[in-house]
C-alpha cells in the first residue's frame, strides 16, 4: 500500500514537508520591550471573552513522545520551580498595564486554564496564589471556568480539595491510556489503577472532571484503545479529549521509530480508533464539540478550549505561552531561565509577535471555526470557498442539512479530514 514509509525518497520528502510540524517558534516580528499592542487590538474587544492561560513548564520526567515546552529539574539551568508563582504573578500585573496602556477595555476573566507541563507539580498554594492574582487583577466572571491539568500521580485527595477551595472548578487528568504497554511506550509513569481514584477524589471535592486520552500510540491495537475508552467511561467523567499521537521531530519516540525500535503510527488505524471513540462516546452520552473534544452535555464543554477556536482573547502567562488579543498574536520566550530574566528586568517576556491582516484573519477564522460543532457560517467564505462546499457535501465531508442552514459543519468523515476540508474551503 502507498504508506508514506514505502514511498520513494523524493516523494517522502515532499509528503513529510506537508506533515511535519515545525517545533521552533514561528518567525515573526520582534515584540516591543514594553509589550504595548497596536490600537487595532482593542477593536471589538467587548464582543470577545477574555481568558488567562498559565503555562507551568515543569515535569518530573520527560515522556518520550512529548515536545511541549516543559523541563525536568535537570534542564532548568538555574531557574527554580519555587520562583514560578511570583514570576507568573508579575506577568499578570504586567499584562494588566499592557492591556490598559494599549486601550483594551478591562474585562473579567471568563476562563482560566493552568496547562503544562504538570501544573500540579507546584504546591497547591502556588496555584491558588496565581489564581488570586488573576482574580484581584481582572476579576473572575461569576460562572468562570477555572481548570488545571494534572497527572494522576501528582495529586491526592487533599490537593484536589485545596484546588476547589482556591476557586478551581475543573481538573483535567492526563490519563492517556489504561493499557500498561501503551503507557510504557508513552513513558507515562502513573499506575492506570490510580485514574478511577483521582477522578472520584476530584468529584468528591466538587470539581468537574475531564480525562485526556491519546490514541494511535505505536503498538496500540484497536482493542487496546477500546479498553482505554471503556476504562475512561467507567469513571464517568464530564468531559473527554482524545488526541492522536503525533510523532514530533526531535523527540525520543521519533528516534525510536527511525531506528525501527518502535513501529510508525498508521493513519488508517488512527482513523479507525477515532471512529471507535466517537461511537463509544456518543453511545455513552458524550457529544463532540471540537474535533478532539467531547462533553457530556453542553454545560461541560471546555469554554477555555473553545475560546482558541472561536477567536476570543486570552493572555498566556509563563515561558513559551501564546497569547491572542484582537488579531495580535504573540508568544513568550521558551526557557524558564530566559523568562525569569525578562520578568526580573521588568521587560515583556514576548519573543515575537504578529499582527494579522484581514486576509490572514479570514484564513484563521476558516481554519479554526471549521473544527467546532457550531461550524463556520457559509457567509464568511469566499465565493470559491462556497463553491467548494458543494463538492465537500458530495464527498460526505460536510453535513448537508447544516450547510443548507448556512453553516459548514463537519461530518464524522469530515472531522478526520478536517485539514483537507479547510484547504478546500480556502482554495
Amino acid at each position: 500500500m502507498a504508506g508514506a514509509g514505502e514511498l520513494p525518497r523524493h516523494l517522502e520528502a515532499l509528503l513529510t514537508q506537508n506533515g511535519v510540524v515545525p517545533s521552533a517558534l514561528p518567525l515573526a516580528d520582534p515584540a516591543p520591550a514594553d509589550g504595548l499592542l497596536p490600537a487595532s487590538a482593542a477593536t471589538g474587544a467587548d464582543d470577545r471573552n477574555f481568558g488567562v492561560y498559565l503555562h507551568v513548564p515543569f515535569c518530573r520526567v520527560r515522556c518520550g513522545y512529548c515536545d511541549f515546552n516543559t523541563y525536568t529539574s535537570d534542564e532548568l539551568r538555574g531557574a527554580k520551580r519555587s520562583d514560578y508563582a511570583s514570576q507568573a504573578i508579575a506577568e499578570v500585573s504586567f499584562a494588566r498595564s499592557v492591556l490598559g496602556g494599549s486601550g483594551v477595555p478591562e474585562r473579567e476573566a471568563t476562563t482560566v486554564f493552568f496547562g503544562g507541563g504538570t501544573p500540579t507539580l507546584l504546591p497547591v498554594s502556588d496555584l491558588a496564589a496565581i489564581l488570586d492574582a488573576v482574580r484581584s487583577t481582572w476579576g473572575l466572571a461569576p460562572d468562570a471556568e477555572i481548570t488545571t491539568e494534572s497527572n494522576p500521580d501528582s495529586v491526592d485527595a487533599d490537593y484536589l480539595i485545596a484546588l476547589k477551595a482556591a476557586g478551581f472548578s475543573r481538573v483535567s487528568f492526563g490519563m492517556q491510556s489504561a493499557v500498561p504497554h501503551v503507557l510504557a511506550t508513552l513513558e507515562r509513569t502513573h499506575d492506570p489503577q490510580r485514574v478511577p481514584l483521582v477522578v472520584r477524589w476530584a468529584r468528591d471535592a466538587g470539581l468537574d472532571v475531564s480525562l485526556d486520552l491519546i490514541y494511535n500510540t505505536p503498538g496500540e491495537s484497536i482493542d487496546d484503545w477500546r479498553t482505554s475508552l471503556e476504562s475512561a467511561l467507567a469513571t464517568d467523567p464530564d468531559h473527554l479529549s482524545a488526541y492522536s499521537l503525533i510523532v514530533e521531530d526531535g523527540t525520543k519516540l521519533a528516534r525510536q521509530i527511525r531506528r525501527g525500535e518502535v513501529p510508525a503510527p498508521d493513519d488508517d488505524l488512527a482513523a479507525e480508533q477515532y471512529e471507535l471513540a466517537d461511537r463509544l462516546l456518543a453511545d455513552a452520552g458524550y457529544q463532540w464539540y471540537e474535533v478532539s473534544n467531547w462533553a457530556k452535555g453542553d454545560g461541560h464543554r471546555s469554554r477555555h478550549n473553545l475560546a482558541y477556536w472561536q477567536g476570543h482573547d486570552w493572555w498566556g502567562v509563563g515561558p513559551g505561552a501564546h497569547s491572542h488579543v484582537g488579531g495580535v498574536r504573540w508568544w513568550n520566550v521558551k526557557h524558564p531561565a530566559a523568562y525569569a530574566e525578562r520578568m526580573h528586568a521588568g521587560q515583556s517576556p514576548a519573543a515575537g509577535r504578529e499582527t494579522l491582516d484581514d486576509e490572514t484573519r479570514r484564513v484563521e477564522r476558516v481554519m479554526l471555526a471549521t473544527r467546532i460543532r457550531e461550524g463556520l457560517p457559509t457567509s464568511e467564505l469566499s465565493r470559491q470557498g462556497r463553491t467548494a462546499v458543494a463538492a465537500l457535501i458530495a464527498d460526505e465531508l460536510v453535513d448537508a442539512p447544516a450547510a443548507l442552514a448556512g453553516r459548514v459543519v463537519l461530518t464524522l468523515h469530515g472531522r478526520l479530514l478536517a485539514d483537507a476540508v479547510v484547504r478546500a474551503l480556502l482554495s
Partner: protein
C-alpha cells in the same frame, strides 16, 4: 630523417597521387581516439607538449563517454620509411567517423570521402556488431580495408585468435593483420606506411567544375558553421562564391583550409583533398551532410550521389521539470539545432507535464546525447517521455494518420497500423544465443539467420519492430549477455502489426504522458506495470482513486489508491494558532506544486518517477 622533421605538402597544390584519404572503423572503446592521438604525435602535427588525451574529441560528452559524436578530418604528413633513396612525403587525411548506429548516415558520408579504412579491433575483445556493420558499409563503398588489432599491450590480448577472425571476415592471411598499441605507439609507424602502400590515391578531374562532398558540418559559436568537405573534382579557392547543390543557396567563401588538426587557412583545395569551408552561415541546416558544394561561377551539372535528408526515427517529449524553465528549454533547443541538423522539435503540452517539446531523434543515443547536452550545457532539469516511433494508422474510413505521439492515435475503428521495422544484427559469444533468441522473440523479432564468426562467436540476424528496440532492448541485451552482446540495426521498411494504444486513466481521466502504443499481446503487461507504478507513487487522496489501463473504452487493468482516512492535526499546541496556520500555508503551497488530473492531485515527482521507471523494468517477462 625522422618523421617529425617532415616538410608537409602544400594544400591546394598537392598531387592527388600523394594523397591518402582514410577513416578508422572501430567500436566504442576499441581505442580509436587513442590511436589517432599517437598518429598526431608521430607525424608531428601535435607536439608532445600540446598533446592531450583524445585530442580530436571536442565535446565533454565525447571525451567522457569515449565515443565520437561528430567526425573530423586531420591532415598529417608522412613519408614512407620503407622506401629506398629519397623518400616521398604524402598527405594523409584521417577522417574520424562517428561510432554509433544512430549516425549510420554520417558514417556512410565519411566512408564516401575515403579510399580506404583501417578496421580497428580490440585484440582482447574481437569485432563487435557495430564495427561489422560499418565494415560492410565500407566494403560496399569499395574501400581498401587495412585490418588492425589494437591494444596488443593488454595482458588479455589474444591477437592470434582475432587475427584469424578478421582474416576470415575480409579474406586474406591472418599474418597481414597489423598489431598495434595506440597506448604505447607500437606498430603505429608501420600502420602509416601500410596506409600509403595499400590505400589507392584519390581520383578526380582537376579541370571539371568543382564538386566537393560535405561529410560533416559543425557549429562553432565564434565562426559559425564549419563545413568539412572532400574535393572530388575541380578546386575551390578563397573568396569564391559557392553553391550548395541541394538547396541552390549561394554563400561567400570566407575561409578555406585544412585541419592539422587546428584549422590552417590555405590557398584552396584541389582534387582529392580534404578540408574545411567557412561561409558565415549560422545554421548547420544550410550546410547539410551529404550535399555537394560547387562554385556559383561554374556550377557542376550533377550533384554527387548519396545525399539524403536526416530522418528522425525516434520521438520523445522533453519537458522541463520546473515549468518556468520552458523558455530556457526553447532557447537551448534553438541553439542545439545550429549544430545538430538531425534534431527536430515542436511545442507540445501535456496535462501531466505541462509545456514541453516533441522532439525527433535519429535514435536512442541521439536522444540521450541531446538530453544530456541540454542538462549539462544549459543546466536544465528535464523529463523525457517514453520514446516512440512513427506509426501509420489507417482508419476504417480510409484516412491515414502519421503518429509520432500516442496522443495523436486516432479513436474509432482502426483498419490497420504499420510500424517501422529494422534489420538487426547481434554479435555475441555463442553461449548467449539462447537468451538472445528469447529476447528477440519476446520483442516480436523474426530470425533471418545466424552465422559463426570464428569458433565461438555468433552473428544473429533478425527483423524487429523499431518500437521494441527503442524501449529497453539494448539494456536487456547487455544485461543478458553480461555486456558481451552488441547490436546494430538498419531500417528495413514498415510492417503492419496488431498495435493498440493503451491509455492510463486516473479516476476516469486520461493521463496523456502515459499513453503508449504497444502490441496487443503486451497491452495487459504495460497496463499492469503502469497502474502498479502509479499506485505506489501517487499519494492518497480524500477519495478512492481508481487507476485504470484501457484500450479505447475497454479496461484491461485496474488498481486503486485507497482513500486517505485521516488528515487532521489533533490539537493546537497551547493556543499556538500561528504554528497551525503556517502549517496550513505550507500545505497549500505544496498543493500548488501538484498537477491536477481531474480532481486527483499528483506531485510532479510522481509523474517523473513513473516515467523514468523503476527496478521492475530490468526483470520483465
Amino acid at each position: 630523417m625522422t618523421p617529425k622533421s617532415l616538410k608537409a605538402l602544400e594544400p591546394s597544390a598537392t598531387d592527388p597521387a600523394f594523397i591518402r584519404n582514410f577513416c578508422i572503423i572501430a567500436h566504442i572503446d576499441h581505442g580509436k581516439s587513442t590511436l589517432a592521438d599517437r598518429m598526431l604525435q608521430i607525424t608531428g602535427v601535435v607536439s608532445d607538449r600540446d598533446m592531450r588525451a583524445q585530442y580530436l574529441d571536442r565535446m565533454d560528452i565525447e571525451r567522457e563517454r569515449g565515443i565520437t559524436i561528430k567526425s573530423q578530418a586531420v591532415r598529417m604528413p608522412w613519408s614512407s620509411a620503407a622506401g629506398e633513396g629519397t623518400s616521398q612525403t604524402y598527405a594523409l587525411n584521417m577522417i574520424d567517423t562517428p561510432g554509433h548506429v544512430d549516425f549510420t548516415y554520417e558514417v556512410s558520408r565519411s566512408l564516401a570521402a575515403c579510399e580506404g579504412a583501417i578496421l580497428l579491433v580490440d585484440a582482447a575483445q574481437g569485432i563487435e556488431a557495430q564495427t561489422l556493420a560499418n565494415l560492410y558499409l565500407a566494403l560496399d563503398n569499395d574501400l581498401e580495408i587495412i585490418p588492425v588489432l589494437n591494444k596488443i599491450d593488454l595482458p588479455a590480448a589474444d591477437p592470434e585468435r582475432f587475427a584469424k577472425e578478421l582474416a576470415g571476415l575480409i579474406g586474406g592471411d591472418p599474418d597481414d593483420v597489423l598489431r598495434v598499441s595506440g597506448k604505447t605507439g607500437a606498430g603505429v609507424e608501420e600502420l602509416l606506411d601500410r596506409v600509403i602502400e595499400r590505400i589507392p590515391a584519390p581520383k578526380g578531374d582537376p579541370d571539371a567544375p568543382a564538386r566537393a562532398m560535405i561529410f560533416d558540418s559543425v557549429y562553432d559559436s565564434y565562426r559559425g558553421v564549419v563545413t568539412y568537405v572532400r574535393m572530388i573534382d575541380g578546386s575551390l579557392s578563397p573568396r569564391e562564391r559557392i553553391q550548395m547543390m541541394s538547396t541552390r543557396t549561394i554563400h561567400e567563401l570566407l575561409e578555406i583550409g585544412v585541419s592539422s588538426p587546428e584549422p590552417v587557412p590555405t590557398k584552396g583545395l584541389g582534387v582529392g583533398e580534404v578540408g574545411y569551408l567557412i561561409t558565415g552561415v549560422k545554421d548547420v541546416r544550410q550546410s547539410k551532410v551529404g550535399d555537394t558544394v560547387t562554385t556559383a561561377a561554374k556550377p557542376a551539372a550533377a550533384a554527387l550521389p548519396g545525399y539524403t535528408e536526416p530522418k528522425p526515427m525516434v520521438f520523445s517529449g522533453l519537458y522541463p521539470i520546473d515549468g518556468s524553465d520552458y523558455p530556457d528549454l526553447r532557447d537551448a533547443l534553438d541553439k542545439l539545432k545550429l549544430s545538430d541538423a538531425a534534431l527536430v522539435y515542436e511545442p507540445e503540452t501535456s496535462v501531466a507535464l505541462g509545456f514541453g517539446f516533441r522532439c525527433g531523434f535519429l535514435g536512442l543515443l541521439h536522444l540521450e546525447i541531446v538530453t544530456e547536452r541540454l542538462e549539462r550545457e544549459f543546466d536544465l532539469g528535464l523529463i523525457t517521455t517514453a520514446p516512440s516511433v512513427i506509426y501509420e494508422v489507417k482508419s476504417d474510413d480510409g484516412k491515414t494518420v502519421t503518429v509520432t505521439n500516442p496522443s495523436e492515435f486516432p479513436g474509432g475503428k482502426i483498419a490497420s497500423v504499420s510500424e517501422p521495422v529494422v534489420k538487426a544484427s547481434i554479435l555475441a559469444p555463442k553461449d548467449y544465443v539462447g537468451t538472445i533468441m528469447e529476447l528477440c522473440q519476446g520483442r516480436r523479432g523474426t530470425m533471418l539467420g545466424m552465422e559463426y564468426l570464428g569458433e565461438d562467436r555468433v552473428e544473429l540476424h533478425y527483423t524487429i519492430p523499431l518500437g521494441e528496440i527503442v524501449f529497453d532492448f539494448f539494456d536487456q541485451l547487455k544485461s543478458r549477455t553480461q555486456g558481451y552482446g552488441s547490436l546494430d540495426y538498419e531500417p528495413y521498411g514498415e510492417a503492419e502489426a496488431d498495435l493498440v494504444k493503451v491509455d492510463i486513466l486516473l479516476q476516469g481521466e486520461q493521463v496523456d504522458a502515459f499513453s503508449a502504443i504497444v502490441h496487443r499481446d503486451k497491452a495487459y503487461a504495460y497496463g499492469v506495470l503502469m497502474t502498479g507504478r502509479l499506485r505506489e507513487l501517487i499519494p492518497r487522496q480524500q477519495f478512492e482513486v481508481p487507476i485504470q489501463a484501457a484500450i479505447g473504452s475497454r479496461i484491461i487493468a485496474r488498481e486503486s489508491i485507497r482513500a486517505m482516512r485521516k488528515d487532521v492535526l489533533a490539537k493546537c499546541y497551547g493556543g499556538d494558532i500561528t504554528r497551525k496556520r503556517k502549517l496550513l500555508e505550507k500545505q497549500k503551497e505544496g498543493k500548488k506544486r501538484m498537477k491536477m488530473v481531474g480532481r486527483v492531485e499528483v506531485p510532479q515527482e510522481a509523474f517523473i518517477a513513473a516515467l523514468s521507471g523503476g527496478t521492475e523494468k530490468k526483470d520483465k517477462k
